[in-house]
Symmetry: C2
Amino acid sequence: MESSNFLRDVVIGMSDGLTVPFALAAGLSGAVDTTSIIVIAGIAEIAAGSIAMGLGGYLAGKTELDHYNTELKREYYEIENLRHREIEETKEFFASLGLDNEVQEKATEQIAKDPDKWVDFMMKYELGLDKPHPKRATKSAFNIGVSYIAGGLVPLSPYFFISTPFSALQVSVALTIVCLFVFGWAKSKIIGINPWWGALQVTLIGALAAAAAFGVAKML
Amino acid sequence: MESSNFLRDVVIGMSDGLTVPFALAAGLSGAVDTTSIIVIAGIAEIAAGSIAMGLGGYLAGKTELDHYNTELKREYYEIENLRHREIEETKEFFASLGLDNEVQEKATEQIAKDPDKWVDFMMKYELGLDKPHPKRATKSAFNIGVSYIAGGLVPLSPYFFISTPFSALQVSVALTIVCLFVFGWAKSKIIGINPWWGALQVTLIGALAAAAAFGVAKML
């Protein structure tokens, strides 16, 4: 679970990091004469994007934890003070599974014996909430932000060394397409879909975004 | 459920749309002499970002649906061909709730009578998978993409009409801060957290991203 969360964060950060700065740089390559402005715009985008995504990830994790704790308190309050209603809700859960009245009664009676287990059950199956890790939010913010920076520096790196935008663009396209493909392949392996098909999809999104940005900038 | 998915997509698209193009434009305002390059970079970013996020949303939805259908087939196969093991797994679920052996047996027996209900049960409670809406992926892509564009045009609009970057930046900051605050307030209301605190958080992320982008671009 730990490692799958880590990988999920890297995937979130890196897929946008590889795609958006790549497309922005490609777009500007069609519109300006020197790569210095592309480097500035690219780095500004990476700074903005990594903060927005990283803090976004932090807040999402924080909100999830707050929400869980609020609901947890409410359930403890309810089994104490609205016991009758909670008994009804627990019975309804078993009824929804298609169990007969006798089994509903017995199961509810057994679950209701232990308050902690009962609340656990309500959290998980009535509300569909899993307990989030308390430190998750901070870690998640950091992992997503750093992955975005790492991803974004790939398409931008050729512009550091080559002063003609169109020459830098060619190297950036080649480099980024390879990275998108490898990244898409690895990502698909992790989430368990066909890796070649997944790699193709990720690469196509990146290429499409870059082509659109290039086209739009050229038009203006 | 329908409307909550729609709102979720709008929130995803708009929070990044308001933040990243805002920060990029702010960053470039510290580095260039004319707003025309900011408009080009901003529109290129909005094109790239909306495609990356929209298609990203589409693929996420598509993958979720594929995954659900694969697991659904597997469960039907298993209750047909590995009935004994599935009976064990169903019993284990009830055991994990703290129910005694008799109730485990009876509940399992009753659930296993109807194959469709049984598979439904396994999907939901053994695997924790909810049935995704088949058209979700396409709708989601569209909603996220359009929300990103709508969000992104807010901070960029002053640069269309004002030719001095720093003057445009001042209008953009005022306009976007107000929009971030209103958006953060509405978002917090929807997800059920304190709206003032939520609005403040969203606004601070936007401001921080813009300040970082401005600072980094100024340094270069």
